[in-house]
C-alpha cells in the first residue's frame, strides 16, 4: 500500500513538472510562428456573410470575406476595396467598378457575378437575411451586370446610404459558383471568401481557427494563424490575458488597467469608440419627461464630467448631441452645462418640485462599460437636488423587452453602435414607432428626418443633418452622455491599434517576436 502511494506521488510530480515545463514554452512559440489568439466573450452565429446582424459574427467574417468598399481606420470615410471606384449615375442608380485579378479561397475568380449572387442570396426571402430589411438593403431593386467588372445597383427610391452600407459588413461578397453548387448550408459550415484569412475549423463555443491567405490581393497578412477563443466569463478572459494564453482581449474595465500593465505581459490600448451611451428620458408615456423643460433641467442636473472622471476614470468622451464626431454626419452643438441652479429654475418653470419627484431608471448590467454603476451614480447626483430615483437593474433580454413595450420607468440607460452614419442613429431612436426609441410624436422632427434620409447630394445632406442635430439637442430627449472608450488588452508581442468602429481585424496586426 505504501509503495503504491509513493509511486503515485512520483507520477503526479512528474506530470505536474512536465505540464509546467510545456506550457510557457507554448506561449512563446506563438510569436515565432506568428500566431495570434483573440479572446472573446461570445461566439459567432454563422459563417455566412450578409445573413445575421451580430457584431461578433461580422467581426469574424471580415477576416474571411471582403466588402465592396473599405473604411479608413482613422477618418472612417469610405475607400476602395473590392470596388475600385464608384459613381452616382442618377438618384437611384449607383455604378461600381470592380477590382480585377482577385480570387476566392477556392480559386474561383471574383467579378460582377459574385456581387449579383451575393445580393440574390441576401434578398431571397427563403434565406431570412437580416439585411433584407428597410434599415439595410430592402430599397435595392436590381443589380445590373454592365460587364464582368462593372456593376450597377438600382434602388427603388433615393437611398444615399448605399455607400455607407457597401463599406460596412452589410455587404460581404460571396462566391457565385460555390453558392450555386454547394448551397448556403454547406457554405455556412465551410465558408469561402476573398479575405485575408482562410477558414480552418470552428469548434462550436470553443474556438474559431483561421489561417493566412497567401494570395490575398492586398498582400498577405503578417499573422499566419488567427485563433478566436470564446471565453464567456470576464475574469477568466483576464486570467487568460495575464497568463499569456490569449493576446488580445476586448473591454478591459478602467480600474483594471494598472493590473494589466503591471503584469508586464500585456498593455492596454484604447480608442474612442463610435458606440455611444445615453440616458433616455422617456416621453412616449405620460410622466414628467413629457415636458421639454424638465428634460433640459435633467441635462443640467447630471454632472457628466464627474461621471466620466470618477466612475469611468476618464475613459469616455463627452457628447453634447445625438451624434458623435466619429459619425459621418456629425456637426457640433452647444453643450448642456452642469448647472444645478439652472436645473432648479427650469423645474420651477415647469411647475415641478424636484423634491417630490420619484423617478425610475432602468438599466442593464454588464452590457456597457460600468452601466449599472453609472446609473447608480446618476441616481446619487439627482439626489443632490432632492430627486429620488429608483434604479431597476434588468437582465438584458428583459431590458430590451421593456423598452420595446414602453414598459420602462421614466428613464433608461442604453448604448448604440457602431453609430457611423446619421440615418442609422437618428431614424431608429427619435421616432415614436421605432422599436427602441424613447422619444417621438414630434411632427416637425419626423418630417425633417423623412426628408434628410433621401438627400443624396453631400452638401445638402450635411446641412440637413446639422439642422436635425440642433433640433434634437434643443428637445433634450436624452441626457447626452458620451462615446465609450474601447479598452483592449494587447500582448506585448502584438502590434495592433484598436479602431473606432470596434473591428478587431487581424489583418492589421503585426507580431514582433521577443
Amino acid at each position: 500500500m505504501r509503495r503504491q502511494g509513493s509511486a503515485v506521488g512520483i507520477m503526479l510530480v512528474t506530470v505536474v513538472a512536465v505540464v509546467a515545463a510545456v506550457l510557457p514554452a507554448a506561449a512563446q512559440d506563438r510569436t515565432k510562428t506568428k500566431e495570434v489568439v483573440v479572446g472573446l466573450g461570445a461566439e459567432p452565429r454563422t459563417m455566412l456573410g450578409v445573413t445575421i446582424v451580430d457584431w461578433t459574427t461580422n467581426n469574424m467574417l471580415e477576416h474571411i470575406y471582403d466588402r465592396l468598399l473599405d473604411r479608413d481606420a482613422k477618418t472612417l470615410k469610405p475607400k476602395p476595396m473590392l470596388a475600385t471606384s464608384w459613381k452616382i449615375i442618377n438618384d437611384t442608380t449607383w455604378e461600381f467598378a470592380l477590382r480585377k485579378g482577385v480570387k476566392f479561397h477556392n480559386g474561383e475568380p471574383f467579378d460582377a457575378q459574385s456581387v449579383k449572387a451575393t445580393f440574390d442570396y441576401m434578398l431571397d426571402p427563403a434565406n431570412k437575411s437580416h439585411y433584407a430589411t428597410p434599415a439595410y438593403w430592402k430599397p435595392l431593386k436590381e443589380v445590373q451586370i454592365v460587364d464582368p467588372y462593372t456593376v450597377r445597383l438600382i434602388t427603388d427610391k433615393p437611398y444615399p446610404s448605399v455607400i455607407d452600407h457597401a463599406s460596412l459588413t452589410d455587404l460581404l461578397i460571396m462566391p457565385a459558383k460555390a453558392l450555386r453548387e454547394q448551397g448556403p448550408q454547406k457554405l455556412a459550415e465551410k465558408p469561402i471568401g476573398t479575405g485575408p484569412f482562410k477558414f480552418v475549423e470552428w469548434r462550436r463555443d470553443e474556438r474559431l481557427v483561421l489561417e493566412r491567405n497567401s494570395d490575398y490581393w492586398q498582400g498577405p497578412a503578417d499573422v499566419s494563424r488567427v485563433t478566436f477563443r470564446f471565453i464567456p466569463e470576464f475574469s477568466a478572459r483576464m486570467a487568460a490575458l495575464l497568463s499569456g494564453e490569449i493576446d488580445i482581449m476586448k473591454d478591459v474595465p478602467p480600474h483594471t488597467i494598472e493590473a494589466v500593465e503591471r503584469s508586464g505581459r500585456a498593455k492596454v490600448r484604447s480608442t474612442v469608440s463610435s458606440r455611444i451611451n445615453y440616458l433616455a428620458l422617456v416621453n412616449l408615456k405620460p410622466g414628467p419627461m413629457q415636458d421639454v423643460r424638465v428634460r433640459r433641467a435633467m441635462n443640467h442636473a447630471v454632472n457628466v464630467d464627474e461621471l466620466i472622471t470618477q466612475v469611468l476614470r476618464g475613459h469616455a468622451t463627452k457628447m453634447c448631441g445625438p451624434l458623435a464626431p466619429t459619425n459621418v454626419d456629425f456637426s457640433p452643438v452647444d453643450c448642456y452645462k452642469y448647472d444645478p441652479a439652472r436645473a432648479q429654475a427650469l423645474f420651477k418653470e415647469a411647475g415641478v418640485d424636484p423634491k417630490s419627484l420619484n423617478l425610475t431608471l432602468d438599466t442593464p448590467s454588464g452590457r456597457y462599460p460600468l452601466d449599472k454603476d453609472v446609473s447608480l451614480a446618476i441616481a446619487a447626483q439627482l439626489q443632490r437636488l432632492g430627486i429620488h430615483t429608483n434604479v431597476v437593474v434588468n437582465e438584458w433580454g428583459t431590458h430590451l423587452d421593456k423598452i420595446k413595450n414602453r414598459n420602462t420607468g421614466d428613464m433608461f440607460f442604453l448604448g448604440w453602435g457602431p453609430a457611423l452614419h446619421g440615418q442609422g442613429t437618428i431614424e431608429p431612436l427619435f421616432k415614436a414607432d421605432a422599436t427602441y426609441s424613447s422619444y417621438g410624436n414630434n411632427k416637425v422632427l419626423d418630417d425633417k428626418i423623412a426628408k434628410a434620409v433621401t438627400i443624396v447630394d453631400a452638401k445638402a445632406r450635411a446641412a440637413a443633418y446639422a439642422e436635425l442635430q440642433k433640433l434634437v439637442h434643443d428637445e433634450a430627449p436624452w441626457v447626452f452622455l458620451w462615446q465609450q472608450h474601447d479598452l483592449y488588452g494587447v500582448a506585448q508581442s502584438v502590434e495592433w491599434t484598436p479602431r473606432a468602429d470596434e473591428k478587431v481585424w487581424m489583418y492589421e496586426a503585426k507580431i514582433t517576436p521577443r
Partner: protein, 266 residues
Amino acid sequence: MKKFLGLILTLGVIVVALAAPWLAPADPFATDFTSGLKPPGSPGHPFGTDQLGRDLLARVLFGARVALFIGVCTVLVTALVGGALGLVAGFVERWPSTVIMRLADVQLSFPFILLALTINAIVGLGLRNIIVSLSAAGWVVYARVVRSEVLSVKEREYVQAAAALGVGQLRLLLRHVLPNVAPSIIVVASLQFSQFVVAEAAISFLGFGVQPPTPAWGSMLSESRDFLYVAWWLAAFPGAALALTALGVNLVGDWLRDSLDPKLRV
C-alpha cells in the same frame, strides 16, 4: 466542541444582523465617488470600500440581515410546502405519493435557471425572485425525506396499535406521525438554510441577483469578479462571512441531527 463552534457562529451572525446599524462605521448605501476601491485599513474603512465608495464593513454587516432573511423565508416556505407534501405522500401512499414523487422528478429535471428566468419575467429581479426561485427548487428535499420518515414511522408498533384501536386517520397523522417526523424537518431545515444562503451567490452569478443597492453577500461576491485583480477585499470579506455563516448553521444542524434523530440520512 463542534456544537459550541456552531452555536457561537450562528448566534454571532444573528447578533450582527440585529445590531448592524450600531456596529457599522458608515451607511452601507452612501456612495462617495472620490474614495472608490480603497483597501482595507484605510481611515474610516476597516474593510475598505467598493467601486462606488461604499464602506465594505457596513455592507457585510447589513448583508447578514439579507442572508438571514433569505434563509428564514426560504426555509419556512419549503418546509411548509415540502413537509406537507411529504406527509401526504408518506401517509396516504398509493397514487398521491406517486404523483408527488414524480412532480419532484419534474422539478429536478429541468434547469434551475429557467425557473429564475420565468420568475424574473413575472416579478423582476430582486429578493422576491430569489426566495421564490429557491423555494420552488428546495421543497423537493423535504418531500422526499419526510415521505421516507413517515413510511418508517408508520411501521412502528405504537402507531399500528393506535390504528388497530380505531383512531381516525387525521388524528393518527397529527398526533402520532407528525411529532415523530418533526425532528427530521428541523434537521433538514437547518442544513438547507446554509445551502440557500450560498445559493444566492450562484443566482447572482447567473444574473438574477438582488437589486442594487441591497447588500447581499452572494451578489457582492458575484460583483467582485470584475475586480478580482485589483480589489481582493471585495471578494474576501463577503466570502468569509458566507463561509462562516454556512459553517455555523451547518454545525448546529449536525448537532440537532445527532441529538434528535441520528438515523436520519441527510
